[in-house]
């Protein structure tokens, strides 16, 4: 497969979308917040907590409960999204919650709740991976103890080429494969993995490798963003 292949938006196969931006502190009222933009996809994440659990019977004596809510605003997509949760957003919320529970040190905050709200402001494919990327940043921005950050992106196959971080036009190509992915760089634990499309295992191997490299790039940007705001925060 040729690496010379140029994509619909001029990217090389292994490139993230442009711009790929990270911004911290975008919701002043929240305890921590972050915005991630990948091309035309924009997601905001913000964290409230650790805080009191209401109703009390949901409390866990040994650790914090982590609650995650992914949502698309009505005008984030071409066809107006009806407000309120649907099955897709319920599933994505759960997957992101699952992923984050691998890094947040919940046992540091017994009998509390940590709420993470994710709002898709503009959707052009890859909203769940942008949301997860933003979520771990918002948690860090809120000063929540974490084992590591989680970078997340998708990779896939478009017109026979293995590519990183598909946009919507690519995702919609006949026979495309899309594989949302996230892993913890320090432990190599895969915490998000899904796939749509028809693939050989060999292709999946290549796609996962591509996704992992993308995550590594995003991880650098995540670290940089935290450092810029908090200086030595991550180096202690």
């Amino acid at each position: 497969m040729s690496r010379k292949f140029i994509r619909n938006d001029g990217r090389k196969p292994e490139e993230l979308r442009r711009p790929y931006k990270i911004k911290l502190g975008v919701v002043p009222r929240a305890n921590g917040s972050a915005l991630v933009q990948s091309g035309k996809t924009i997601v905001m994440a913000a964290v409230y907590g650790p805080k009191k659990v209401i109703p009390k019977h949901l409390e866990d004596q040994e650790k914090a409960i982590l609650r995650c809510r992914y949502n698309m605003i009505t005008f984030s997509v071409k066809d107006r999204k009806k407000p309120g949760p649907d099955k897709r957003s319920a599933e994505i919320s759960k997957l992101i919650e699952n992923a984050l529970s691998n890094v947040v040190m919940l046992e540091e905050y017994p009998r509390t709740a940590i709420d993470i709200y994710l709002e898709v402001i503009q959707a052009d494919a890859g909203t769940r991976v942008a949301a997860l990327t933003a979520a771990s940043l918002a948690l860090a921005d809120a000063g929540i103890a974490m084992k590591d950050l989680i970078p997340s992106t998708a990779a896939g196959r478009v017109n026979g080429h293995i590519v990183l971080d598909l946009n919507k036009e690519e995702e919609d190509v006949e026979d495309a494969i899309d594989l949302p992915f996230a892993y913890i760089p320090s432990t190599k634990e895969v915490v998000l993995l899904q796939m749509d499309g028809i693939a050989d295992i060999e292709e999946i191997e290549e796609i996962i490798e591509m996704a992992k490299k993308g995550c590594d790039k995003i991880y650098e940007m995540q670290i940089k963003a935290i450092k810029e705001k908090y200086g030595s925060y991550l180096e202690e």
């Binding site: 919701v27 009222r29 805080k51 005008f75 107006r80 709420d115 709200y117 503009q122 959707a123």
Partner: protein
């Protein structure tokens, strides 16, 4: 939420005519307006007043008219507080506070006849444009009513109407002019605490407010909607002077922020 003592302090200061950030009672924080913030919306705008942030977006769909207005487009306005906009918000169905905000902003636009809805008829009695106006409170640092009103008016002016094919389906990426805007309206709000009337509270000041009065002001100086909000009251004799002030401020804001 702030402590009772802090509330007492803020209230006392306001009643003495002073504010936490040294503004004058009738002074607004910095207002920043940005249009075109949503690629997939027909029109959109972000408004920041101090740290308060609101985004509004307009989606247009071809739909059926109401039976009693067969040749008019349809306007549907909703407001949602993003669950991260403050620590008091919970995700869930619209609360009465969200409903009230949406309805007050809607009345300003609707009663002020901002949009010529008859021009949004496509086939009489069969197909008209439905305009969805969605307001999102992103960060609540007070005075969301004024921010929302400015955001909606700017989003409406940002709209490019999609072009339709012969089957009345939207042609992606092609447009057919702007919305038929007949008037500009902004809804501005006077806040009352004790005997003091002031403007543009931040979130902390808003916690001590007794009542608000929101008026829709049209570019020709007409008042097109009123709403006394919150638990407290305005004195009977305060209403008209307050409206005069709101009108003046409204005309100023239309000139400055809705162009």
């Amino acid at each position: 939420m702030i402590t009772h003592t802090a509330m007492e302090f803020i209230k006392k200061k306001l009643c003495e005519g002073e504010r936490l950030d040294d503004r004058k009672l009738k002074e607004y924080r910095e207002i920043v307006i940005e249009r075109g913030v949503g690629e997939n919306a027909e029109g959109s705008a972000r408004v920041k007043i101090g740290q308060t942030e609101v985004i509004a977006g307009i989606k247009m769909q071809v739909g059926e008219p109401f039976k009693d207005t067969p040749n008019e487009g349809i306007l549907i306005t909703s407001a949602e507080f993003m669950p991260f906009s403050s620590s008091e918000v919970e995700p869930g169905p619209p609360t009465v506070d969200e409903i009230e905000l949406g309805r007050v902003i809607d009345r300003g636009i609707r009663e002020g006849k901002v949009i010529d809805l008859e021009k949004l008829c496509i086939v009489e009695g069969e197909k008209v444009w439905t305009i969805f106006v969605d307001i999102y409170l992103v960060n609540d640092d007070g005075n969301m009513y004024d921010a929302s009103s400015l955001a909606v008016m700017n989003a409406l002016m940002d709209v490019k109407i999609p072009k339709l094919d012969e089957n009345y389906e939207i042609i992606e990426g092609e447009f057919n002019g702007k919305l038929p805007i007949r008037h500009k309206v902004v809804s501005l709000t006077a806040y009352k605490v004790g005997n003091v009337i002031f403007y543009d509270p931040n979130a902390k000041e808003e916690e001590v407010v007794d009542a608000r009065l929101t008026a829709g002001i049209r570019d020709d100086g007409k008042i097109v909607s009123l709403q006394k909000g919150m638990e407290g009251s305005f004195k009977y004799d305060e209403i008209i002077p307050t409206l005069r002030e709101l009108k003046e401020r409204g005309l100023e804001f239309i000139g400055k922020y809705v162009q």
